[in-house]
Amino acid sequence: AQRVTQPEKLLSVFKGAPVELKCNYSYSGSPELFWYVQYSRQRLQLLLRHISRESIKGFTADLNKGETSFHLKKPFAQEEDSAMYYCALITGSGNTGKLIFGQGTTLQVKP
C-alpha cells in the first residue's frame, strides 16, 4: 500500500533550535517525495522536492531508501517557520501525478 506517515502532529521548538520533521513512506516503486508547507491563512505550497537536492529557506530533506524516510531538517528554527508541513509522495503512471499526503505536522517556533 502507498502511504505517508508523519508521526508527530505537533512539534514545538524554541527559536534557534534545530528542527527535524519526520516522514516515512511506503511505496513499492521508486519514490518521488515532496514537502509542502501551509503558513497561516495562506495556500498550500511546495517547499522542496527530493530530486532537486536543494535547500529552501534553510530546510533540507534527504531521501533514505533503506529507512524509507524523508525527514525535513533545519539547523536553526526561525519564528517565521511556524506552519503546517505536509510530506507527500507522488504516485501514478503516465500523464499525471497523484499526491499522497501525510497527516501533517504543525511546527510551532517559540520566541
Binding site: K9, R43, L44, Q45, T96, G97, L99, I100, F101, Q103
Partner: protein, 114 residues
C-alpha cells in the same frame, strides 16, 4: 499574478441541496485536480483532469462530479451533500503531463453542510 483561484472561499449548504465549487487558473496548466481535506486529515485526491480527460479516483463517491468547460475553469459538483462532506476542498494545477511536476494549490473552499 498568475494563480489558482477558488470561489467562494466559504460555502454553506443544506443537507441534500446541490452545491458547486469553482476553480479557475491563469497559469494555462494542462492538469487540474480536486482534493478533499477533512478536519485534521491529509488532503485526499478526488479526481483530476488532464486537458479534457477526466480521471476519477476509485474511492471517490458518486455524489461528487466535476466539469472542465475550458482550460481555465474546473467545477466540483456535489449532488446531494451529506454532513460527512463538510471539508476544505482544494483545487490544484500542474503544467505538464509529467508526474513530478509541481502542483500549485488554490486557497481552498471551506464547505459547511447544515
Amino acid at each position: 499574478d498568475a494563480m489558482v483561484i477558488q470561489n467562494p472561499r466559504y460555502q454553506v449548504t443544506q443537507f441534500g441541496k446541490p452545491v458547486t465549487l469553482s476553480c479557475s487558473q491563469t497559469l494555462n496548466h494542462n492538469v487540474m485536480y480536486w482534493y478533499q481535506q477533512k478536519s485534521s486529515q491529509a488532503p485526499k485526491l478526488l479526481f483530476h483532469y488532464y486537458d479534457k480527460d477526466f480521471n476519477n479516483e476509485a474511492d471517490t463517491p458518486d455524489n461528487f462530479q466535476s466539469r472542465r468547460p475550458n482550460t481555465s475553469f474546473c467545477f466540483l459538483d456535489i449532488r446531494s451533500p451529506g454532513l460527512g462532506d463538510a471539508a476544505m476542498y482544494l483545487c490544484a494545477t500542474s503544467r505538464r503531463a509529467i508526474s513530478t511536476d509541481t502542483q500549485y494549490f488554490g486557497p481552498g473552499t471551506r464547505l459547511t453542510v447544515l
